[in-house]
């Protein structure tokens, strides 16, 4: 019995390129490759020729020139004297901010709505259906414009807060002002400022922030340890000790101590001149974009969640009930872990869509990547080829990162089949 017989080689004939299965696919691939390469070369040579005719070059040097335009509320220090590169980075950060905030809010809202649509409350389920259908079947651009306009038309302008007989007033104990330009919220002040860490490139992080981060992460780790201990106790004795107060304590006490140590206090925004100063003014462009993206994406996520839960057959919860497991535990031990597996893949695409849709920021004047690199920079420098290619590259990388992360998660929870 030969265990490693090597297939006999038949002599090669030219016709085998076409008629032999092995070579045929090779032939085909080579042809496709040549065609694709030729097409690519054709595009590139056209581009080179066009650039030559126009007397332009292909060069990213413009990124290091002075940008000259301002960006409201840059997440990192930025002035009009900075380079286009820095403006682009500000744009990327803004895109990321709105994406992350949007994904979190849309997930929360989407899950709530998705579950609510399954509720046996007739009225509420109908309302949620109306919400979902309205948002899914009307262009996002309209929702962005509508939300933006609602903010603009319904909320008072800042000067309504001014003077003795102001027509508008602040909320949350005079800490927050909703205006038709921005939402003014308090900033944090410290009486005992520990200074900040310079990360270079004029980016600084306050030591206080770092201290809080460490406290929170540490608290969370301790909480995990407590949870592990609780689990172990349960495994051994069968009953689970109540640990929520311990967790709460380790999560909050260090932070409270730090607040006391740094003398942290709120600096409420104050109406001064044209606008509120002292606090943080979150522009309505960002809020409207975030809200519209959230509402729009949540409608899709709601459908995904609903489908995910419906996909778990009724038999699963019945079996769980029959074992005497309470409805709440049934949800967390039986239904959700399974629904999650159905939900995650389409959820990834919704996150990706949200990230891509955030490029509609252009409609509300929020300076995201599209607004800086693909907008003003492109316009001022006339480097459309470079700007747009760079912009697409960045979007592509962000997409790939999101989907890679979620795919990893997905592969970990996959169901085992025969």
């Amino acid at each position: 019995m030969s265990d490693t017989a090597i297939p006999a080689q038949t002599p090669f004939r030219l016709s085998m390129l076409i008629y032999d299965r092995r070579y045929r696919s090779l032939t085909f691939q080579v042809i496709v490759f040549i065609l694709v390469m030729a097409f690519g070369w054709w595009l590139i040579s056209n581009t080179i020729e066009n650039l030559r005719v126009l007397g332009k070059d292909f060069n990213f040097g413009f990124l290091f020139q002075r940008a000259g335009y301002d960006i409201p509320q840059p997440p990192i220090p930025y002035t009009s004297d900075d380079t286009h590169l820095r403006a682009a980075v500000v744009g990327v950060l803004n895109t990321l901010i709105v994406t992350v905030l949007g994904c979190i809010a849309a997930t929360v809202l989407g899950v709530i709505v998705g579950v609510a649509r399954l509720s046996n409350n007739w009225l509420f389920a109908r309302l949620m259906t109306i919400y979902v259908e309205a948002f899914r079947n009307v262009p996002l651009l309209l929702w962005i414009l509508v939300v933006f306009s609602v903010f603009r038309e319904v909320l008072p302008p800042p000067n309504a807060f001014r003077g003795e007989n102001a027509t508008a007033s602040m909320i949350f104990f005079d800490n927050v002002a909703l205006t038709n330009r921005y939402t003014a919220i308090p900033t944090l002040g410290m009486t005992n400022d520990p200074g900040s860490l310079d990360l270079g490139w004029r980016i600084t992080i306050s030591w206080a922030t770092i201290a809080f981060a460490v406290a929170l992460i540490g608290g969370w780790l301790v909480h995990r340890a407590i949870a592990n201990w609780a689990q172990k106790t349960q495994d051994q004795t069968g009953s689970r000790p109540t640990t929520w107060w311990m967790s709460l304590a380790v999560m909050t006490v260090p932070s409270l101590l730090l607040i006391w140590y740094f003398g942290l206090h709120l600096i409420p925004p104050e109406m001064k001149g044209f606008n509120f100063v002292g606090g943080l003014n979150i522009s309505n462009g960002l809020v409207a974009l975030w809200l519209a993206l959230t509402l729009y994406t949540a409608a899709f996520i709601a459908e995904i969640v609903r489908a995910g839960i419906l996909a778990i057959s009724k038999g699963q919860s019945e079996a769980s009930f029959a074992l005497g497991i309470s409805p709440r535990r049934t949800m967390s031990l039986v239904v959700l872990p399974q629904a999650l597996r159905v939900i995650i893949p389409p959820l990834i695409s919704q996150y990706l869509n949200l990230m891509k849709n955030s490029s509609l920021a252009i409609a509300v004047g929020f300076m995201d990547l599209k607004g800086t690199l693909g907008g003003t920079t492109l316009n001022q420098t006339g480097r459309e080829l470079e700007s747009i290619l760079l912009m697409m590259g960045i979007y592509l990388i962000l997409s790939l990162i999101i989907s890679a992360g979620m795919n990893y998660f997905n592969s970990r929870v996959k169901l085992k089949e025969r």
């Binding site: 595009l43 009225l123 262009p139 490029s359 790939l400």
Partner: protein, 484 residues
């Protein structure tokens, strides 16, 4: 003792009990309210919350809707009427702008005398779709065709279509309805011709252009047939090359010469006259019609076992799906000219359609890939065992089934694409939502009108998209039944 109970329990029911009505609590409105609205504290709270939401919405918007004005020549006139009618300080909706400009929202700047042409094209679209989308149920087919016929013909009459075109449309509708009764498959010819006719009706000009374009595939087929005798590879190459050569070098001249010999021209309408829903629907439909074949090819390529082909397909799909449509539209408007040979300069609508197509094709490929993956492996094997080659197996066995499974996905891709056509506003085209509304506001009469155009356009989008999504859900349900 063991038999004790068994011995004592024998029981036979002599008369069957009739069904009794449920206890009163369990029926009627009380029960409905109890189970649907107030079945527990949480539920009651939700009901109250829901009522509050409804009350809030009604309270805020009712007045505005109730104070609607439909007849006015300008915004100031509107405001005056509202004040006259409902008193100082009252606000209301001024739908007069929609009434006055709805043709513009619908047709953009299309010459008003020719409005009937897009209308006819749109109506006949349903005939073209009949064998593809409504082929299964005779009842639906009838309803769709007849409704389309009545609506289109009356619209054409109102818009003043020339008599001969009116008769033409009527004949096609009647013919299609009759043919569809027997064998909707035969309408497929019309479906295949429709893209060419549709382009002709929309853009006008000489019919010879589309005809000559159509000659390309015919020549390709002839070449395939002729060369097929020598070698299938040669035939394949010929089938692709001959039409290409024809289109690039000969078709234009041939069309011109033919036009000179026998004129088949209707007034031409340039692309820059397209706007509003006409533009959206044109882009949307061309996008779907072109992205479907491209998506199929991409999906097949992605499932191919040839490494290179698969890699290229994956790269292409992931690239397109990783980039916002708006970036691709900017590519269309800013970069595409760089990529073309110097001196070529083609229509911005065409460029946008290309990018939208490419974008939709990547999504379509994923949808169709799902459909292909859902087919059992046995179908492939059975086709192989019968001696069908790859392409025949795909065409006759695999794709018909995979596409059917994918219809819901395809429809939702289409809905997404149709909504996304509003983004063309950012490259200077007159989409119905933003550009058209801005254009209307740019006139002194309607300066400052804000919500009404948006609501109107949004409502139309909603009706179209909601209709499509309901239709696809219906299809999904029916397919589920069939695949049981």
């Amino acid at each position: 003792m063991s038999e004790l109970h068994a011995e004592t329990v024998p029981f036979v029911r002599e008369t069957m009990l009739p069904p009794a009505p449920p206890p009163t609590q369990e029926a009627g409105a009380v029960r409905w309210l109890r189970t649907n609205l107030f079945s527990g504290p949480v539920n009651s709270a939700l009901t109250i919350l829901g009522l509050l939401i409804v009350w809030f919405l009604v309270n805020h918007f009712w007045n505005w809707f109730a104070h609607s004005v439909w007849n006015a020549g300008s915004l100031s006139e509107c405001r005056q009427i509202i004040i006259d009618r409902w008193g100082e300080g009252s606000t209301g909706a001024c739908w007069a702008v929609v009434r006055e400009r709805w043709m513009q929202f619908t047709f953009g700047f299309y010459p008003s005398g020719l409005y009937w042409r897009p209308t006819m094209a749109f109506g006949l679209l349903f005939v073209a779709l009949a064998p593809v989308l409504f082929s299964e149920s005779r009842k639906i087919r009838r309803i769709v065709l007849l409704t389309a016929a009545v609506l289109t013909l009356s619209a054409m009459a109102v818009l003043g279509a020339p008599t001969h075109w009116f008769i033409f449309a009527a004949v096609i509708f009647i013919g299609a309805t009759v043919i569809a009764e027997q064998n909707p498959g035969r309408l497929l010819i019309f479906s295949l011709l429709f893209p060419f006719l549709g382009v002709w009706w929309l853009w006008g000009g000489s019919l010879w252009g589309p005809i000559m374009a159509l000659v390309g595939p015919v020549l390709g087929w002839v070449a395939y047939r002729l060369l097929g005798r020598f070698s299938p590879i040669l035939a394949g190459i010929g089938m692709i090359l001959v039409p290409l050569l024809w289109w690039i070098f000969l078709a234009g001249d041939a069309a011109r010469d033919a036009e000179n010999l026998a004129s088949l021209a209707i007034p031409a309408v340039a692309s820059d006259r397209f706007g509003g829903f006409l533009l959206s629907i044109t882009i949307g439909l061309s996008g779907i019609a072109l992205s479907l074949p491209l998506g199929i090819v991409l999906a097949l390529a992605r499932r191919s076992d040839m490494f290179l082909v698969k890699t290229l397909a994956v790269m292409f799909i992931e690239f397109i799906r990783g980039v916002p449509l708006i970036a691709l539209l900017f590519v269309a408007s800013l970069l595409l000219n760089y990529f073309m040979p110097p001196g070529t300069n083609f229509d911005i609508i065409l460029r946008v359609i290309i990018m939208v197509t490419v974008f939709a094709a990547a999504y379509m490929a994923e949808v169709i890939r799902g459909g292909l993956a859902a087919l059992p492996k046995g179908q492939y094997e059975a086709a192989d065992a019968l001696g069908l080659d790859y392409w025949k197996a795909q065409r006759l066995i695999i794709l018909p089934q995979a596409l059917k499974i994918s219809i819901p996905g395809i429809v939702s891709t289409f809905i997404g694409m149709f909504k996304d056509t509003t983004l063309v506003t950012f490259v200077g085209l007159y989409d119905p939502l933003k550009s058209m509304s801005d254009a209307v506001r740019a006139s002194t009469d309607w300066k400052g009108i804000y919500w009404e155009p948006y609501i109107f356009v949004g409502l139309i989008f909603f009706i179209i998209c909601f209709g499509m999504s309901r239709y696809s859900m219906y299809l999904e349900r029916r397919l589920q039944r069939e695949h049981r």
